[in-house]
C-alpha cells in the first residue's frame, strides 16, 4: 500500500516537473517571437507606439473600423433622415432644398397606395417565413438523422442558397412559362389541368404566390442550416436519459428537441424577417411589381417614389418608417430570444 502511494506521488511530481518544463519552453519561444516581431517593426513606428497606453492602442486599432462604419452605415441613415424633412428630388440635385417639416411623413402615412404596398409586404413576409421555417426545420431534422449519404444531400439542398438572385429570377421566369415551363407541366401532371391554362406570373391571384414559392425555394436551405446547427448542439446524453425514462419519440421531440433548438429557429426567423422586408431583386426580376400593383412590395414602391416619380424626400420618409418598424420589431424579438435562451 505504502509502495503504491509512493509510486503515485512520484508520478505526480514527475508530471508536474514535465508541465513546468513545457510551460517554460513555450514562454521562452513566445518571448523570442515577440522580440523578433518588435525588432521587425520599423524604428519610427516603434518609437511612436512605445509611448502609447493600452487604452490608446485599443482605440488606434478600432478607429478605422469605427470610421468605416460611420461612413457606410450611420452617415447615409442620418442623411436620409435629413432628406425626409425636405423637398429633395434626385433628378434636381442642385436645386435649393426647402424644409417641409413632417409633410412627407404625413403624405406617406395617408397614401392608400403605400398602405396597399405595406399589406403586400406583410403577406409576402408572413408566408415566406412560415414556409421557410416549417420546411427548413423539417429538412434539418431529417438531415440530423445521419442517414447514408446525408452529407451529399446536405450539399444538394444548399445549392439554391448559393445562386445569385439574378440567376434564380431568370430561370424561374423560364420555369413559370405557361407553354414550355416545367413548373406548369408538373402542376398539370399532378392535377390534370392543362399547363397553358394558368399563368403564375401574369395572374393577379397567383403572382404573389409565385414569388413566395421562389423565395422559399431559395432561402429554405439557409433556415435549414441554422436549424441544423441547433439540432447538432443538443448533447446525446439528454436523449439517452430520455430513453432510460422510456420517453416516446414524440415526447422527446416536444420536450427536448424543439425547446433546445428554439433559439436557433428564432434567430433564423429574425434574419429572414429582416431580409424579406427589404425584398427587391427577386420581385423586380419575376414580376416587376405587376400585374398592376399586385406584387408591389414596399421596396419597389420606395424605388418608384425615389427614382421614377422623383419624390426622393418622400421616399426617404417612407424608408425611415420601414426602418423604425424593423428596428422596433427586432428589439422586441431580441428580448424574446434572450428570454428563451435563459430558460
Amino acid at each position: 500500500m505504502t509502495a503504491r502511494i509512493r509510486k503515485r506521488t512520484g508520478q505526480f511530481f514527475r508530471m508536474r516537473r514535465f508541465k513546468t518544463q513545457v510551460k517554460s519552453v513555450t514562454d521562452t519561444s513566445s518571448t523570442i517571437l515577440g522580440e523578433a516581431v518588435a525588432r521587425a517593426t520599423p524604428a519610427p513606428i516603434a518609437s511612436r507606439i512605445r509611448g502609447l497606453s493600452d487604452r490608446s492602442m485599443a482605440w488606434l486599432f478600432i478607429t478605422p473600423a469605427i470610421a468605416l462604419l460611420l461612413a457606410v452605415n450611420i452617415f447615409p441613415l442620418i442623411w436620409a433622415i435629413y432628406l425626409s424633412f425636405t423637398n429633395f428630388r434626385a433628378n434636381r440635385p442642385n436645386a435649393a432644398l426647402e424644409s417641409v417639416g413632417f409633410s412627407n411623413y404625413s403624405r406617406v402615412l395617408n397614401d392608400p397606395n403605400i398602405w396597399q404596398a405595406m399589406q403586400t409586404t406583410a403577406h409576402f413576409v408572413f408566408w415566406t417565413i412560415l414556409l421557410q421555417t416549417l420546411i427548413g426545420f423539417s429538412l434539418a431534422y431529417l438531415i440530423d438523422r445521419k442517414f447514408r449519404g446525408h452529407a451529399f444531400w446536405t450539399t444538394i439542398i444548399l445549392v439554391p442558397m448559393m445562386l445569385s438572385p439574378a440567376v434564380v429570377g431568370n430561370f424561374w421566369r423560364f420555369l413559370y412559362q405557361p407553354q414550355i415551363g416545367l413548373f406548369n407541366h408538373i402542376v398539370s401532371f399532378l392535377t390534370g389541368i392543362p399547363p397553358s391554362s394558368f399563368e403564375m406570373l401574369g395572374s393577379v391571384r397567383l403572382s404573389p404566390w409565385a414569388i413566395i414559392i421562389v423565395d422559399t425555394w431559395m432561402w429554405t436551405p439557409y433556415v435549414m442550416l441554422i436549424c441544423l446547427a441547433g439540432l447538432r448542439s443538443i448533447p446525446d446524453y439528454i436523449y439517452e436519459a430520455a430513453e432510460v425514462d422510456r420517453a416516446s419519440l414524440w415526447r422527446q421531440f416536444w420536450s427536448i428537441t424543439l425547446p433546445m433548438a428554439l433559439p436557433f429557429i428564432m434567430l433564423a426567423v429574425l434574419f429572414r424577417g429582416i431580409e424579406n422586408f427589404k425584398m427587391f431583386d427577386m420581385v423586380t426580376l419575376l414580376t416587376g411589381g405587376g400585374p398592376g400593383s399586385t406584387t408591389e412590395v414596399a421596396s419597389i414602391t420606395l424605388k418608384r417614389e425615389a427614382f421614377e416619380s422623383w419624390r426622393t424626400g418622400r421616399a426617404s420618409a417612407f424608408a425611415i418608417i420601414l426602418f423604425v418598424a424593423v428596428f422596433g420589431l427586432a428589439n422586441i424579438y431580441v428580448k424574446a430570444l434572450n428570454k428563451v435562451k435563459q430558460r
Partner: protein, 68 residues
C-alpha cells in the same frame, strides 16, 4: 447579547421606474404599432402607426437601462 443593527427597509421603486413592467408596456406599444402599420382594415390605424411605433421604440430604449 449584542443588538442587531436595524436592517434598512428596501426602498420600493415606483412602478414607472422599474424595468420589467415598463419594458412590457414598450413591447406592447411596438407590437401594436407594427400591427397598425400592416393591417388591411382601417387607414386611420395605418396613419397613426408610426407615432405608436416611435413611442414604443424610444420607450424601450430608455426603460431597458432601468434597474430590475
Amino acid at each position: 447579547m449584542t443588538a442587531q443593527p436595524p436592517v434598512p427597509s428596501k426602498q420600493k421603486r415606483p412602478f414607472f421606474l422599474t424595468r420589467g413592467p415598463m419594458e412590457n408596456i414598450a413591447t406592447g406599444l411596438i407590437g401594436l404599432g407594427f400591427l397598425m402599420l400592416f393591417q388591411p382594415f382601417l387607414l386611420i390605424f395605418y396613419t397613426w402607426s408610426l407615432v405608436t411605433l416611435l413611442a414604443g421604440t424610444f420607450m424601450f430604449i430608455i426603460v431597458s437601462k432601468f434597474p430590475e
